[in-house]
Amino acid sequence: MAENKGILVYGELAGGKLASITTELLGCGRKLADDLKEDLSCLLVSDTVGEASKEAIAFGADRVYTVEDASLKQYQADSYMQVAEKLAKELSPRAILMGQTSIGRDLAPRLAFRLGVDLATDCLELSIDPEAKLLMRTRPVYGGNAQATFSSELMPQITTVRTKAMSPMERDDSRKGEVIPTKVEIDASKIRTKIVETIKEEVAGIKLEDAPVIVTGGRGVGGPEPFKTTLKELADILHGAVGATRPPADNGWVPSAMHIGLTGKIVAPDIYIAVAVSGASQHVAGCSGSKNIIAINKDPEANIFKEAKFGVVGKYEEVVPAFTNKLKEILAG
């Protein structure tokens, strides 16, 4: 068998452009490839890849493999797996990096088991062990109550990386690289699932992942109403977005798309205001990258105060409206 060499980033597109997770993967993949003195490749799969392949080069890739097929417009495990398996075998990289996104979470385990190798999911840190040349992959475990570093001698070493954990390189459109259009015959008879309908639960306003300020409500807010009133008013004056812990999403108070944490969205705003949130490690996993966490909770012992920079102990019904009013006053100058 050919020797495994190089790093392959499994890229994703968002609205025809390179997804931000892919620029992050290329940033960290570039460093790993340089440490190994090997190449960094990027695989892009869609119905049409377009300009995103040039973007991948500008963000660090030496080679971009583009696989285009009408049947690849929407992610489906059984079609995407055909591409991933074929390219993994043909390119025999040392490591494959994917995002810990809805696609990465679904595709990476299938690929690892199909190839009979190892996978480390949701990694926060990657480095090369200089002697063994193996990837040391650090990820949170026990809901974020600990971290573990894993390695494997099986190639390729498949890894998914948490969004916002890595920094992209500065975009440099003068970087040189090669785009390699690659044909993969998709065998439609192997696609066993059928997507009957896609339902978007659009959340109005600024996207959580991009918001500079997030006001998150926990189970302690008591129901769906405060998300539309108390919390929204606070978020609005700070030009922020409203988020939630998992219980409000599970209870149907808010759409699941608003749920932040280990199994929800990962956010890293400048200001994260946690209202009636206990600060369970699985929730903190999704917001610990925030620059400033502010907690409002009636329980002085709540774990969220261990994560926060500033806190107020009190019932949110009393604290938040006064906070909002004072902010209005201050911001009005």
Binding site: D78, T101, S102, R105, D106, P109, R110, A112, F113, D118, L119, A120, D122, V141, Y142, G143, Q147, A148, F150, S152, R192, T193, I195, V196, E197, T198, I199, K200, E201, E202, A249, D250, S256, A257, T263, K265, I271, A280, S281, N292, I294, I296, N303, K306, E307, A308, K309, F310, G311, V312, E318, V320, P321, A322, F323, T324, K326, L327, I330, L331
Partner: protein, 266 residues
Amino acid sequence: MPINMIVCCKQVPDPEAPPAVFKVAGNKMTLPADVKPVISPYDENALEAALRIKEKTGGKITALSLGNKLVRDVIKKSLAVGADELILLEDEAFEESDSWSTAYALATAIKKIGQYDLIFCGRQAADWDAGQTGLGIAEILGIPAVSVARKVEVTDGKVRIEQVIPDGYEIVEVALPTLITVTSELGDLRYAALKGIMAAAKKQPTVWKPADIGLEPSQVGAAGRHSKLNKLFQPVKEAKCEIIEGDSPEEAGANLAVKLREAKLL
């Protein structure tokens, strides 16, 4: 058509125990003895998905768990809520499994069970949070799989699944047999009725050792791993929270706004 269902349930330390009780010692996670283990919460959601199908369509539910020294009161909850049978892959040799050796042993046991239409797993286990075992089992068995389901229904030999995607959900159809990983939006596991608890008390789980499913000890647990755990650790946090006071909660709220301005956060 009665449906044969298998639900994989893992026993884990209570993931919602206060963060302070989680302590790493000698590359292992230790918790105080008074923190009781539980069935991993997403596996409970998976069990609930199976119970709803059993109610509506009829069928048989086999709960399957892998580990060592599994606490009977914990794992028999599956029987108490309505599973028909409980099979434990229980042996010292199964200790320290990773995603690979877990999925391999579970898939081998499922082949031995033989009859299955639907296999349910939680989307990830609450100890290692890897999220691989379910999809891995499907790969090994060569059956389709749909992940992060929030609703599952069976009609005319077909499964209809609501799969959570980043900004909404997809309705996916797939034929039997299939494997489904379940997420919390599906709903909490029901409480066991007294009758169920009493019936469960009388039932004994079937226990299989590696040899019972045709595996060598070298193929399971720590020996069968694909990954090496180099280090388990707890990063130190130095964050310190400044509590903003006031004569009333309202005043504290207003003082918080002033503080944010002073700290130049606004």
